[in-house]
């Protein structure tokens, strides 16, 4: 359709043009930024209603990973004797479960979010991308609660911190009562190191990897409800392809980098490196996983934008 000659207007910044969707819809990230208040409110709403009318409330965010940890420790740690980079298996699996749960809970919520909010989508215009983003962001609260629980595990397993170790050693040697636990602490090869400063970056990567997959899934789910059925199953499979119950170091060499094509793999290994100070710096793994994430993120965002215009008609 040829554009007719329209006079320039003083308020041209507010021109809204409505056209059939192009093959490549621009991402329009500016609009997303302008609607950040809405994003915030959606996230807040999700957090507020998540544990409404439950007795245990936010405790569920701790109970789930904690019980999973116990079961994993028994089955994989005790019975299957899975290697764990020399870290007590419960601690090893719990640290791995933190980003994994954030990822899989985020996917579960975000994949369905366009369908569960169909009423809104049919009646009001807003950048739809806000919905999957807020669904994942709201999982951050659960993550932080379960992360706090990690502190308890640290104390239980007497984690080493380099600067107090020397003092601890001296004190323990002078006091036989503590000698045994001090010995354990000093000889343990896990400790809180300076790696921990990378945690915010890893958290951002965890968010981006969940978002990258969710953009694809949520958009596909509008037309194909198969996604809901497939996802449940796929996540259960993916857990075994992610180094949550085993370390990447247990994999044969060529598989190590291939396993990192799974966007969350790098983050899970990165978490252990940051939180437990394991030796294996996950650099190459993180690079591969981040590249996979960025690829899915960009293609997912364009796919989402391309199909966005049909959501209201299909959902």
């Amino acid at each position: 359709m040829a554009t007719s000659s329209t006079p320039q207007r003083p308020d041209a910044q507010y021109v809204k043009i409505i056209e059939p969707p192009k093959a490549f819809q621009p991402l329009n990230l500016l609009e997303l930024w302008q609607q950040r208040e809405l994003l915030f409110l959606f996230t807040l709403r999700d957090v507020k209603i998540r544990y409404k009318q439950t007795v245990l409330g936010i405790l569920w965010a701790v109970i789930q990973p904690f019980i999973t940890m116990i079961v994993f420790s028994f089955v994989f740690g005790r019975i299957a004797r899975m290697p764990s980079d020399g870290i007590p298996y419960p601690l090893f699996s719990y640290v791995g479960l933190l980003p994994w749960n954030f990822f899989s809970n985020g996917l579960n919520k975000a994949a369905a979010v366009l369908v569960t909010n169909s009423q809104m989508i049919r009646k009001i215009y807003f950048p739809r991308m806000i919905l999957p983003i807020s669904a994942i962001l709201s999982g951050m609260v659960d993550f932080l609660i379960s992360f706090a629980m990690l502190g308890v595990l640290y104390i239980y397993y007497g984690i080493n911190t380099p600067h107090v170790t020397a003092g601890l050693k001296a004190y323990a040697l002078s006091n036989p009562v503590f000698a045994e636990s001090a010995f354990r602490a000093v000889t343990a090869n896990y400790e809180i190191t300076a790696n921990i400063v990378w945690l915010p970056v890893l958290l951002l990567l965890a968010f981006l990897s969940a978002l990258s997959v969710s953009l694809w899934l949520s958009a596909l789910n509008v037309a194909f409800r198969d996604v809901g059925y497939a996802l449940n199953f796929a996540l259960r499979m993916l857990l075994y392809l992610t180094p949550v119950i085993y370390p990447v170091s247990a994999l044969p060499e060529p598989l190590k980098l291939i396993s990192a094509l799974n966007p969350i793999t790098g983050v899970v290994e990165g978490f252990r490196w940051a939180m437990l100070g394991v030796d294996s710096a996950p650099g190459p793994l993180l690079l591969v996983s981040t590249a996979a994430t960025l690829f899915l993120l960009v293609t997912g965002a364009y796919y989402f934008r391309k199909t966005e215009a049909t959501f209201a008609d299909l959902v």
Binding site: Y14, I18, P20, I124, Y125, F311, A312
Partner: protein, 433 residues
């Protein structure tokens, strides 16, 4: 002024209609369940959405118009004429298939009151949620917060989850948020018909206030009275095409003429009537208009007797606690009066099989003109109470008469009804002080 706020050129929207699988027997259902996945995958290979058939359907096409800044454009048309599609396209909710539209200025839209209300959140939280969804800034909502709450009249419950609100309260709160939207261009769909009579009156005057502030408004409504009242121009859509656009009273009367049923038809079969509301159970089967002698006649002189005979047929079904409602509407779509079995001389009815109810109006004092009836069968046993509802079921004409007995036929009189009032001159007040 004088500049366009909305420009629409050749806008069209196409849908593919899927055909429902018409298999009702057990074997058919099983066969479909087995072959379905393969058929659907095959259609995916052909780059087609499953379920979608090849049937193309244009919900609207070739829509071209302009709206000047500060103008209020009303959009009318029957169900399925493309009104909602036009509005959804302009708001950006769903993309057009062809054409282009430009909207200049901050756009706000209101297709439904209460979108995004969450039952678990409090009134206060929902005001912020809903307001932001409608395009307000949090700071703006905070500024108008007290006004919004006051207008809704739910002050006491503002920190209660809205699931504890009555539906009326929810609607009032939702409308109040919407009423405080402050965009330069407002796109509105049929929102004036919510709440009780008192609230409708208030929202109508709020709407009037909004439209008189020099804002550009595109208003879709079924209510001819409010469309005429609020709009500067009216556009008539039919089957996705723009039929005409122009002066409100002219377009509205043209629309009413088109949807009008010839008054000569004093007996109308309702079983397959096009005015039946979606989701109704077709119980109302016939309406007849009778004169005092019981003869079918669709014209009555002012002051004459008119009878409405409704035949219902529920088949085997027994419906208890039921009642019938006849709404008498004038040519401008204003409800003149309501005749109902309940609260008049009949108590709750029991519908069973075929029954005939006759409503006699002994002194039909409506002003001369054309009227039509909307008929409803209600029951407190059904969800939402409406069993069956047929609008524009039948029309009748009230003809001029010597209503006041003065020996000549009065042709005109303003107002909706004629009243035999009694005038007197007070003989004691003769003295001029």
């Amino acid at each position: 002024m004088g500049e366009n706020a909305i420009e629409v050129h050749g806008l069209g929207k196409k849908f593919y209609i899927g055909q429902a699988e018409k298999q009702t027997d057990m074997m058919g259902i099983i066969r479909n369940a087995i072959t379905g996945p393969f058929r659907r995958m095959a259609s995916l290979m052909r780059n087609q959405l499953p379920e979608a058939a090849d049937i193309e359907f244009w919900a609207m096409r070739d829509i071209t118009f302009e709206v000047k800044q500060g103008e209020v454009l009303g959009v009318i048309g029957r169900n399925g004429s493309g009104k909602s599609t036009l509005l959804k396209t302009l708001t950006g909710i769903s993309a057009p298939s062809e054409g282009i539209a430009r909207i200049y200025g901050r756009v706000g839209s209101l297709l439904e009151v209460g979108t995004g209300f969450h039952p678990e959140l409090t009134g206060r939280e929902n005001i912020f949620m809903n307001g932001t969804l409608l395009g307000m800034k949090t700071s703006e909502i905070r500024k108008h917060f007290d006004e919004i709450v006051a207008f809704s009249g739910v002050e006491q419950f503002i920190d209660t989850p809205v699931k504890r609100f009555s539906s009326g309260m929810q609607v009032r709160l939702a409308f109040s948020v919407a009423a405080h939207l402050d965009p330069e261009v407002l796109l509105v769909d049929e929102v004036l018909s919510v709440g009780d009579a008192e609230f409708r009156r208030r929202s109508m005057s709020k709407m009037q206030e909004i439209t008189s502030q020099g804002r550009t408004v595109l208003l879709v409504s079924h209510n001819m009275a409010s469309i005429q009242h609020l709009s500067n121009r009216v556009m008539l859509l039919d089957a996705g095409k723009m039929l005409m656009i122009g002066e409100p009273t002219k377009i509205v009367s043209e629309y009413l003429k088109r949807t009008h049923i010839a008054p000569a038809e004093a007996s109308v079969d309702l079983t397959e009537h096009e005015g039946r509301a979606d989701g109704s159970t077709p119980i109302l089967s016939r309406i007849r208009i009778l004169d005092a002698a019981g003869e079918a006649d669709s014209a009555v002189p002012v002051g004459g007797t008119i009878k409405f005979e409704i035949t219902i047929d529920t088949g085997e079904q027994v419906v208890k606690n039921a009642w019938l409602v006849i709404a008498v509407m004038d040519a401008n779509d204003v409800r003149v009066t309501t005749l109902r079995t309940l609260n008049q001389n009949m108590d709750s009815l029991t519908f069973h099989g075929q029954q005939k109810y006759t409503c006699t109006w002994p002194d039909c004092n409506l002003a001369p003109g054309e009227y039509r009836l909307d008929i409803e069968a209600m029951s407190s046993m059904t969800q939402g109470k409406v069993l069956d509802s047929v609008s524009r079921a039948v029309a009748f004409e009230v003809t001029p008469s010597d209503y006041f007995g003065i020996g000549r036929v009065i042709r005109r009189g303003s107002g909706l009804i004629w009243v035999k009032a009694n005038w007197e001159l007070d003989p004691t007040a003769l003295a001029i002080s």
